[in-house]
Subunit: 383 residues, 2 copies
Amino acid sequence: MSVTAPQGFRAAGVTAGLKASGKPDVALVVNDGPSHAVAAVFTSNRVQAAPVVWSRQVVTDGRVDAVILNSGGANACTGPEGFGDTHRTAEHVAEVLGISAGDVAVCSTGLIGERLPMDKLLAGVDAAAGALSADGGPEAAVAIMTTDSVPKNAVATGAGWTVGGMAKGAGMLAPGLATMLVVLTTDADVDPADLDAALRDATRVSFDRVDSDGCMSTNDTVLLLASGASGVRPDPAEFAAAVRTVCLDLALQLLHDAEGAAHDIAIEVVNAATEDEAVEVGRSVARSNLFKCAVFGNDPNWGRILAAVGTTSAAFDPNALDVSFNGVPVCRNGGVGESRDKVDLTGRQVNVVIDLKAGDATATVWTNDLTHDYVHENSAYST
Amino acid sequence: MSVTAPQGFRAAGVTAGLKASGKPDVALVVNDGPSHAVAAVFTSNRVQAAPVVWSRQVVTDGRVDAVILNSGGANACTGPEGFGDTHRTAEHVAEVLGISAGDVAVCSTGLIGERLPMDKLLAGVDAAAGALSADGGPEAAVAIMTTDSVPKNAVATGAGWTVGGMAKGAGMLAPGLATMLVVLTTDADVDPADLDAALRDATRVSFDRVDSDGCMSTNDTVLLLASGASGVRPDPAEFAAAVRTVCLDLALQLLHDAEGAAHDIAIEVVNAATEDEAVEVGRSVARSNLFKCAVFGNDPNWGRILAAVGTTSAAFDPNALDVSFNGVPVCRNGGVGESRDKVDLTGRQVNVVIDLKAGDATATVWTNDLTHDYVHENSAYST
């Protein structure tokens, strides 16, 4: 499974000593070809970490041979020196693997505003290169974890080809991506333009609709590498569906493991005038701290949902809104529906459906509740 | 002090039994004239409570004789029946006081989605009318409290005239106003147009810049009533300054008493290209749960500030941003500045200054930290 499930990839995860905990913190993923096609999506945050600035350049020619990833430091807001560190890391990977630095993508995650200990990192690159193996994906997935409690891997298969992926991210999850590093691989033979189309299509309805805490990272990166090692050129729609499956699987794993979450919440907005408006409404609810606290308290507080919906510019009549919690229509036509007492929110999964009665578009946004553990994890430690 | 500080006003606060706690829950403020000029600002939420829909109509002719306020129920999302309840309340006040129902503003606060117990409320109106007195302001301020821990009153004086005010609000504090009911009074002789100008000018830089938890209420109302009883027609600029003083005083009282807050945070954005951009940047930081958790943990986490600033469309160069916490420049030119260890955040007040170096406009947005008590108050009780 993971990024080494498709043919043509090797990976490794090692401990370089970047993390005080002594846990694995450097991962390397290598595409052995014959193809080296790539597509990528990066954070839309205007404050971008050095590795994002670097990798954005690297992918412009549609080719990536290797991805080096580290946890234990985001290398964000570190100035020209931090960019130099990223550049040096890529150069070192290129030297060790005998490839070009311009084909090495770099990803970092951890605390913002601190330089990386380069001696340890470069030694970690050597160790990772030495440990590369065709079943090293799961170890790579472990090495990119920060406050994640479990590694995240996913696989989907087509007729003779496979898509694999790993992800990390447990806080700062938000649209326009999360602090989220994702590497997807495939042995399908797909050119960069089709890869790009499949990736954008997939992230739009997966990572972009996961809004754990409304905060957007400086380091988010999703890379999709194609080796072509299967020799199969798949039907574009079939391939896109597989990429979407892996992305959504990973996105929901991220959400399920989000810092301090006690409930996974799916907010489905139906009968919106447009899909964009459905997303806007879903996101406004996903960002309401009052709503998120209510779910933590197992309270189907539809009033807080209406208050959030009311802040959007989506088409709807306030006196026509319906809201249900886990199938119970607690709000009908903007007013009191069935008794809140019929709703059981003690389970982990909460399904909210908001009916705007303004059209036929639909979208789902996923979020978490706001809990004591979230406050604890984000106040007791600097991340 | 409070709304009865200016001449020409009587007020009362009584217990009608709307609150399970048995605390005061109905307030009445009467303008005895000779003038009955009014200006008002209401929530910009598109889901509006019945009393907001009613009062919006009442103020259109620039005249209000009395304001009836209740806690213990928001009368929001209660459909045509809820609007009927508001109408009936105004009619009853008008009957008891011998005025027109069209000159009675109504304000409600409490749980969304439940009808008010009208028998208790109307009996409360009778009791409040019987208790009206020229020093009843402080009692009225107590009767509008919900999760507020203290009543909020403020006064400013001019040459022969006075502005008084009361406010409630302890959650859902956000721009475009908060769940916030505010009644301001003055014995200055000011016509509705000048009142309106003074009120909008004041709320723009006070209530509109308090963003406690990013949630916008369905019931927010700010009313400014002028009796003209002093016989003094003040200089408009002087009058506007007094209204601004009272509004800012009340806004900061609201923030200081916000649910579960352990720190009061002032986010001052300087050298922005425009005032709107300064507000946009301040608000994006005020809404970052990660930033707010960090402050709760006494952590001057400037990386979380830059990540929030990066989500805005304001003019700035990411490599030129400066951030200071309580006077210590922890971030310089988008990178590491002085040691975080020099910052002491153990006090209640936290001053953050963000220098965009993009112009000469400035704005301050006030918020709170995100704490265990916030989560507790908003998950353990339905509000």
